[in-house]
């Protein structure tokens, strides 16, 4: 991670946390992130073929689930008025921060070695971030105690994943480890860029669709009317059953 990120965190964190309702917003967002991580780690626990790692993944998953509950509880104590915070704390499915793409968990998409490199880097970043929070000491005592508790677990996560990567290196797979670490390093800005692009695309298409609605759809309003209430008979489909079943409309 290094000095630039740490310096940046030191500069930005107190400002970011001083904004109105920032506590519940950040804590709720941490809660969701940890919950997503827990899902990813449980999947790794199930899918790994390395039986010696299964228990570590399992403990890691339990830790993340517990952190999620701790963050959520603390966010609730702050009031959780923001809608995102509110949603994340509710028990409905709002879980979006996870590594599953088209049913494929992070572990399956990355493979063991790259997954470990990802875990090591992500957890090290969390240690750095929470470490800065503690160092600057701008949070309240109760949140600080919670962060200390969580930091201990994060150190364990960094420790075991780093040890495993070192083991791979000792086994003569150093080049693979380095390559995986580089991929993990560069994937983060790439994914951030993709998310940014998607958001821009979303805004642009949103504007176009709004214009379409206002300029093109408007005239059709004259001929459109809402469906009537109450029962209405269903006409039998004139097509054969197979033809009707093949149709999408």
């Amino acid at each position: 991670m290094g000095r630039p990120r740490r310096t940046w965190l030191k500069l930005v964190s107190p400002l970011a946390w001083s904004r109105k309702d920032s506590e519940q917003r950040f804590l709720a967002s941490f809660s969701e992130t940890e919950r997503g991580s827990s899902v990813d780690m449980l999947a790794a626990c199930e899918l790994t073929e390395r039986r010696d790692l299964r228990r570590k993944y399992f403990i890691h998953a339990l830790d993340e689930a517990r952190h999620s509950r701790m963050f959520a509880r603390r966010a609730k104590e702050f009031g959780a008025r923001q809608s995102r915070a509110r949603a994340a704390l509710d028990d409905a499915n709002t879980l979006q921060t996870h590594g599953i793409v088209m049913g494929r968990p992070l572990f399956e998409r990355y493979g063991e070695l790259e997954f470990l490199a990802f875990v090591c880097r992500s957890e090290a970043m969390a240690v750095e971030q929470f470490g800065v929070y503690r160092e600057l000491d701008f949070l309240d005592d109760k949140t600080n105690v919670m962060l200390d508790n969580i930091l201990r677990d994060e150190h364990f996560h960094v420790g075991y994943s780093r040890t495993e990567l070192e083991r791979y290196t000792r086994q003569g797979r150093g080049a693979e480890v380095t390559w995986a670490q580089r991929k993990v390093f560069w994937r983060r800005p790439w994914e951030a860029w993709m998310r940014f692009s998607l958001r821009v695309g979303h805004v642009v298409t949103g504007i176009w669709m709004t214009l379409l609605y206002v300029l093109v759809v408007a005239p059709f309003k004259l001929g459109a009317r809402r469906e009537a209430a109450g029962w209405r008979a269903v006409k039998p489909d004139p097509r054969s059953r197979m033809a009707a079943a093949r149709g999408q409309g």
């Binding site: 830790d63 499915n93 075991y160 209430a229």
Partner: protein, 601 residues
């Protein structure tokens, strides 16, 4: 050559698959059980992979893949509604277009690519047709009136169908269309009461028992029952037809007062708590009144004493019971995956019986259609996790479970194939002794981490059900699947305090040996020891998680809650610090290790 049909429901909520071999269901599961994302709406890739592997076939062996609704018809409804609601739908239109033009409109291609099925093998059922098929084609009836009630499908929100002994088995009769929707009405009231839509509806149902329906005059203005057997909603009080995220307007707030803030503690003994309970009771009573009205109309139009119910609203156990008690039908059937997950099952069954015109023989329906784990694989996983476990013998294991339960323990019960649908019916359950309210409070607070007012369900052997519960004879089918309620006999309410709701009702599961032999054996053993063949049975999951599906999920629940033990097959697993073992300290930085701070559990 066998005919293989894969039913798929996806892209909205609760995606699932159901695999048929010559019309027989060989596997069915929800994607959420695999991904651990509750109500997962993505294409059920992992569930499908598992189902095909379970059957020992490849995607190329599939004869048909049936999607549970018609995407173009749904898109048409969204377009027409956006025009009809101009200009106030200006915020929902762009969102809907992004979602539909970006993905949902092209679902055929995505299904074909994802499941490796050529486009000519794709079929599309209608949303409510899938629901209707999931109910009638799993029912024990030769003929029936079928009511499908949910939020919205393509255009319909409520469907009336005729179930026939020969093809077409499902014949459409009439429908009520969007935006008039009983499902959306209940969901809007769920949001008004501060609960999450598609999740909190059960809470409204539970909360209703604490109140009185004192707002019925207001409710009857919101949902007007028409002379023709249908209903009309006051669409100025609701906005699901033009707002992208909200479901009710200031008009509803004007009628019922300030909405409940999410997360506010609910205490029915306070004036505020009573107010929310009264709104919940009025909402529930209005839903029941409307359903009864619709059911009476169905009875007038369809000459059958049998009623099949499906759609999300059919999961409202209290309303189902009211239909049995006051409705015009002699028999009612609801299968446990009545929501969208069951759409996959219905679509597949519909294709077999109505598109391919295969005859149907009504028979028993068992919902244990999901993943199971053989003893060796489960043992290996448990061994890897160093979880303390005992492997019990055939002769002793049930006695050991009873020991735990009788001693006040709360145990996880992980046996056989997982259930389809939201109900835990003795395959993936948390079980406890139903005697005493303390058990209920402990399970709510320290195991399920959920609101204290929510009731728990009892499971009872079929042989003893009548001794403890008054069950309406029309509900013999639904009570097998915990989708109806019964009245706990007054003389047993004190005894069954943990599973008797405040109004004396219970969402009972009547367990037959042929449905769930192990669970039935456990109930019998518990009855032999205590004289009470009844157990508290709740789904094996923690708050916000789907029901557990693997031994690892089960252990994660054990280690994250106050559960006393988990029974994975005949393995009894308990909690221990061994899992986190001292050897893991080596991974901590020296300063933390020296400070004696082992990673906290």
């Amino acid at each position: 050559m066998a005919t293989w049909i894969l039913g798929v429901s996806a892209l909205f909520h609760d995606s699932a698959v159901a695999l048929l071999r010559d019309g027989e269901v060989v596997a069915a599961a929800q994607e959420e059980r695999f991904t651990r994302i509750k109500h997962d709406h993505e294409l059920p890739v992992r569930a499908a992979e598992w189902a095909l592997a379970e059957a020992g076939i490849e995607p190329t062996d599939l004869d048909w893949l049936v999607f549970y609704e018609k995407p173009l018809a749904k898109f048409q409804r969204i377009l027409v509604n956006s025009v009809a609601e101009f200009p106030r739908a200006w915020r929902s239109f762009p969102r809907a277009m992004q979602s539909w033009l970006g993905r949902k409109l092209w679902v055929a291609g995505e299904l074909s690519r994802t499941f490796h099925v050529p486009p000519q093998k794709l079929l599309f059922s209608q949303h409510h047709q899938s629901h209707a098929a999931s109910a009638f084609l799993t029912s024990p009836f030769e003929d029936a009136a079928i009511l499908t009630v949910d939020g919205v499908g393509e255009l319909a929100t409520t469907g009336l169908w005729r179930g026939r002994p020969e093809a077409p088995h499902i014949e459409p009769v009439a429908e009520v269309v969007f935006p008039h929707s009983l499902g959306l009405f209940y969901s809007a009231m769920t949001a008004f009461l501060g609960f999450a839509v598609n999740e909190g509806e059960y809470k409204v149902m539970g909360m209703a028992a604490f109140g009185e329906p004192v707002f019925m005059d207001e409710m009857r203005k919101l949902v007007r029952l028409d002379d023709n057997g249908g209903f009309t909603l006051d669409l100025e009080a609701f906005c699901w037809h033009w707002h992208p995220t909200e479901s009710y307007t200031t008009r509803l707030v004007g009628i019922l007062g300030t909405p409940r803030f999410p997360g506010t503690p609910f205490d029915p003994t306070t004036q505020e708590g009573k107010h929310w309970a009264n709104i919940a009771a009025s909402t529930q009573a209005m839903l029941e009144e409307a359903l009864l009205h619709v059911a009476r109309h169905a009875r007038e139009r369809i000459d059958s004493p049998n009623l099949c119910l499906a759609g999300g609203v059919a999961l409202n156990a209290v309303a189902n019971t009211r239909l049995a008690e006051a409705g015009p039908f002699e028999n009612i059937w609801v299968q446990p995956a009545a929501g969208d997950a069951g759409g996959a099952l219905g679509a597949a069954l519909w294709a077999w019986h109505d598109v391919l015109e295969k005859p149907r023989t009504p028979g028993p329906f068992v919902c244990s259609l999901g993943r199971s784990w053989d003893a060796d694989t489960a043992a290996e996983l448990l061994e890897d996790l160093r979880a303390p476990r005992e492997r019990l013998t055939e002769d002793t294991w049930l006695e050991r479970v009873v020991d735990d339960l009788e001693g006040g323990g709360v145990v996880g019960w992980f046996q056989g194939r997982a259930e389809l649908g939201p109900r835990a019916l003795g395959q993936r359950s948390i079980l406890a002794d139903p005697r005493g309210e303390a058990t209920r409070d402990r399970v709510n607070a320290r195991i399920k981490f959920r609101e204290s007012f929510r009731p728990f369900a009892p499971a009872v052997t079929a042989e003893a059900a009548d001794r403890y519960f008054d069950i309406h004879p029309a509900l013999a089918g639904p009570v097998r699947h915990m989708v109806a309620t019964a009245t706990v006999k007054p003389e047993h309410r004190e005894l069954l305090a943990a599973v008797t709701h405040v109004d004396g009702s219970a969402r009972v599961q009547v367990v037959h040996a042929e449905d769930s032999p192990r669970f039935h054996a456990l109930l019998t053993a518990f009855g032999a020891r205590t004289g009470l063949p009844v157990l508290l049975n709740t789904s094996f999951n923690l708050k916000g998680d789907p029901i557990v599906d693997t031994p690892i999920d089960a252990l994660a629940a054990l280690y994250s809650s106050d559960l006393d033990a988990v029974y994975v097959g005949r393995h009894r697993v308990t909690r221990s610090e061994r899992v986190r073992g001292g050897d893991l300290k080596e991974y901590l930085p020296e300063e933390i290790r020296n400070a004696g701070a082992a990673p906290a559990r």
